[in-house]
Amino acid sequence: MLAIDDLTVRYRTAGGEIEALSSVSLKARKGSTLALVGESGSGKSTIALAAMGLLPAEAMVPSGRILFDGADILTMNAEARRQLRGSRIGLVFQDPFSVLNPSLRIGDQVGEGLVHHRGYTPERAFARAIELLDEVGIVKPEAVAKAYPHELSGGMRQRALIAGALASEPELLILDEPTTALDVTIEAQILDLLEDLRVRRGLTMVFISHNLGVVRRIADEVAVLYAGQIVEQGATEEVLQRPVHPYTKGLLAAIPRIGRRMGRLAAIPGRLPDLRNPPTGCRFAPRCPFATPDSTNPQRLLAVGDRMVRCSSAAALRDTSWPVQEEAVVAATADRSASEPVVEVEDLTKSFVLSRGALRWEGWRPVRDAVSITPVDAISLTVAPGEVVGLVGESGSGKTTLGRTILRLIEADSGLIRIAGETVSDKPQSALEAMRRTAQIVFQNPDSSLNPRKTIRELLGRPIARFGLSPKADIPKRVDELLDLVRLPAHYADRYAHQMSGGEKQRVGIARALATQPNFIVCDEPVSALDVSVQAAIVNLLADLRDRLGVAYLFISHDISVVAHLADRVAVMHHGKMVEIGPAEQIMNAPSHPYTIKLLSAVPRVDGPALARREVVAADGLA
């Protein structure tokens, strides 16, 4: 159906030419799903853009062909390509929140392609849009077709976008991270829908994702990309269960598994090679524990059994697994039950007024019924010294608000907060000096949490100076110690945030939180913005720091498997309420609340029995 042959794509940038794809060859068979997997910078989205003929102007294609049903997309003229895009190839993008035009009705946007490509009248297209919305599982298609995008939830919008891509009866559907912006339960529904459509319509799908669990659920075949090259390609279950290429092995080992607690995750050291001047040999060699002298020679895709692997020692590595480091630090597990909890929260409540509501008359008095939400609803929680309490929940469940309310970054409406034995909920902000030193926070987005105009030395030195923790002359030494603690070299002190990678920035964020020697840190989605291999390194670092320093964490994440790996106890939040809390093992293996069960069953996993497709079925209504 779609065949990519020896495709190379380069981007001209201010810093020089970047080779985004290096002679990539792929084939998507008719009626099957091919998944492209890779971390950021692997070139997976470039493949999607190239296949749609949508490469930006800075892109150059020095070699390669993209054959769709025998015709080369790259040599077509713009008009022929446009015709193809609208009618035979459909595309679904990552972010359902920004792709829909906010000022057009859903039905008009879904039927738009029909008007342009099939010559439908707008009325007929609208009628057809309603049928399509029905087909993608939207409950009241007539009402939804007349709605505007802001009235729909994320899952509904993604369904509408899929309906739009299907409108012109395409044979090929290209999906670029279609579920990444969605919650896991919604993600499961969308994956089921796609599978259903593939079977019903005989669609061919190219599915791009960074999430191996999602890929396992949907793809027949998977191609793993690294630094613009395919490193391993084969049947999904084969590749995920018995990876051959070292990168695939590392990627899979870096994913925390639910229900299998390990001391530490396997992390892949190092970073992507500089693509302005890619190494001629194996591009993964500098990070590879199995590298041999032969790795510096150009590597070709070799057949190993039924799959293709770009590694000259592939056959030898078949049954070797990625080395997992033994636990170096002996856990300093104090007797937690005996000591006083470091954080105690009782009946904490916070609500926000969303809008003041419509004006109405009550007798002679005008009143407004305020519309408010309560993201933190009577929550009680304790955290023992050195304990990790995981907080999971979907977007809008109130996890972040809870974390910030405990630290008094958001003021609570009512409830009691005690930190390190001191009641802080009734004190004015100016009297929180001791608490501010004891309790710190690590943020989700390392780009936003470090002031771009300050060097790392200034960023880390400020908390020390602020609380007068060491004499002024000793601050540089203390900064070096902090950098060492988060395993960054000392010369990083003179850098600015933009001169570091995402993982390094997050290490600085952690070091800043540690600068005041706190007993308790709120980790607000600290690994969500990072790639899997970097995520594993940060999670390990957090675990090490807990063991060495005895810091307690409130670890907030939407990724249940990360929480399951790190946390001693897990709390599940849903619509501002804590629906379940208990030891991590118990929550993961024997959840009791229906919401927890639903959440856990929706998590895409890379291990365990292959899920029967269509396991979670639930309809979402108008938001």
Binding site: F443, S448, R453, R487
Partner: protein, 288 residues
């Protein structure tokens, strides 16, 4: 487990300086230099009246001719450059000094402080600039520093608005939350965390404001409300030459062209600086 390698990611090479910036720097720099060196390089005394050399057209001795009192126009022009640029810069500094803290406070505190400050700015904006200048200068004896003050006052609202809008986006950044989480004082957050990030757009805006200030200052001088004779402020020069425009047009044209050139130069400088400092452009470069 080991951290990312220690090698620094190669920084993208500095973007070549935009042409506008170069041209702007050259023009503005030359005028500034000439103005500063005026007492030493002016070919004739700027304020000596000489009845024998009245209304001379440009010639070899008097390159730009002489005015109605026989003074050398070129020398007066050079001396006047200091006044015009000085007035423009002083006015802009004044509006920065008031407008930036105003904008920071409005954008950071929001709520009624924001409302109060911004409505105040609206009131200021509703008064035509010349009117406000007239108001200040009409009730007190005119002087150049008062013109600068009046002009600076007029340009507070745009600066405050810009500072506010930059602050609004910066206040949502997580590093502000981090500063709050270590109980930093409000003034530390405003001036040490937010302000350094707000500078680039403010500097660009301020450099463009200098040109408006020079023009408005000259207009006020033209109306007799700024520098007083025998000062060689450009606006005043044009005003005095107005009555002889038919007989000796060079007296008015010289300061007119000079002002034109200066305004173009500073505008180019500001545009070039915008291209260079725009944080969005920078972010795009950083990603590549």
């Amino acid at each position: 487990m080991s951290p990312e390698p220690t090698s620094a990611p190669a920084r993208p090479p500095r973007k070549p300086m935009p042409l506008q910036l170069k041209a702007g720097l050259a023009i503005t720099g030359t005028i500034l230099l000439l103005g500063l060196l005026a007492p030493w390089i002016a070919p004739h005394p700027w304020d000596t009246i000489s009845m024998r050399t009245r209304f001379l057209a440009p010639n070899a001795t008097y390159w730009l001719g002489t005015d109605e009192y026989g003074r050398d126009v070129l020398s007066r022009l050079l001396m006047g450059a200091r006044l015009s640029i000085g007035m423009g810069v002083a006015a802009t500094l004044f509006s920065l000094a008031i407008g930036v803290p105003m904008g920071l406070a409005a954008g950071y505190f929001r709520g009624w402080i924001d409302e109060a400050l911004m409505r105040l700015a609206d009131v200021l904006m509703a008064i035509p600039p010349i009117m406000l200048g007239l108001l200040v200068l009409a009730v007190t004896p005119p002087a150049l520093w008062k013109t600068a003050l009046a002009v600076g006052f007029v340009y507070i609202p745009p600066i405050a608005r810009l500072a506010r809008s930059v602050t609004l986006t910066l206040a949502n950044e997580e590093f502000i939350q981090a500063a709050k989480a270590r109980a930093e004082s409000t003034s530390y957050i405003l001036f040490r965390e937010i302000l350094p990030n707000a500078w680039p757009p403010l500097i660009v805006e301020a450099s463009l404001r200098v040109t408006y200030a020079i023009l408005l200052g000259s207009a006020l001088s033209f109306l007799g409300l700024g520098a007083q004779p025998p000062s060689s402020d450009w606006g005043l020069m044009i005003s005095e030459a107005r009555s002889f425009l038919d007989r000796a047009p060079w007296i008015a044209l010289a300061p007119g062209f000079a002002m034109c050139l200066l305004v173009i130069g500073i505008n180019l400088l500001g545009d070039g600086a915008r291209e260079r400092l725009d944080p969005r452009l920078k972010a795009r470069l950083g990603k590549a």
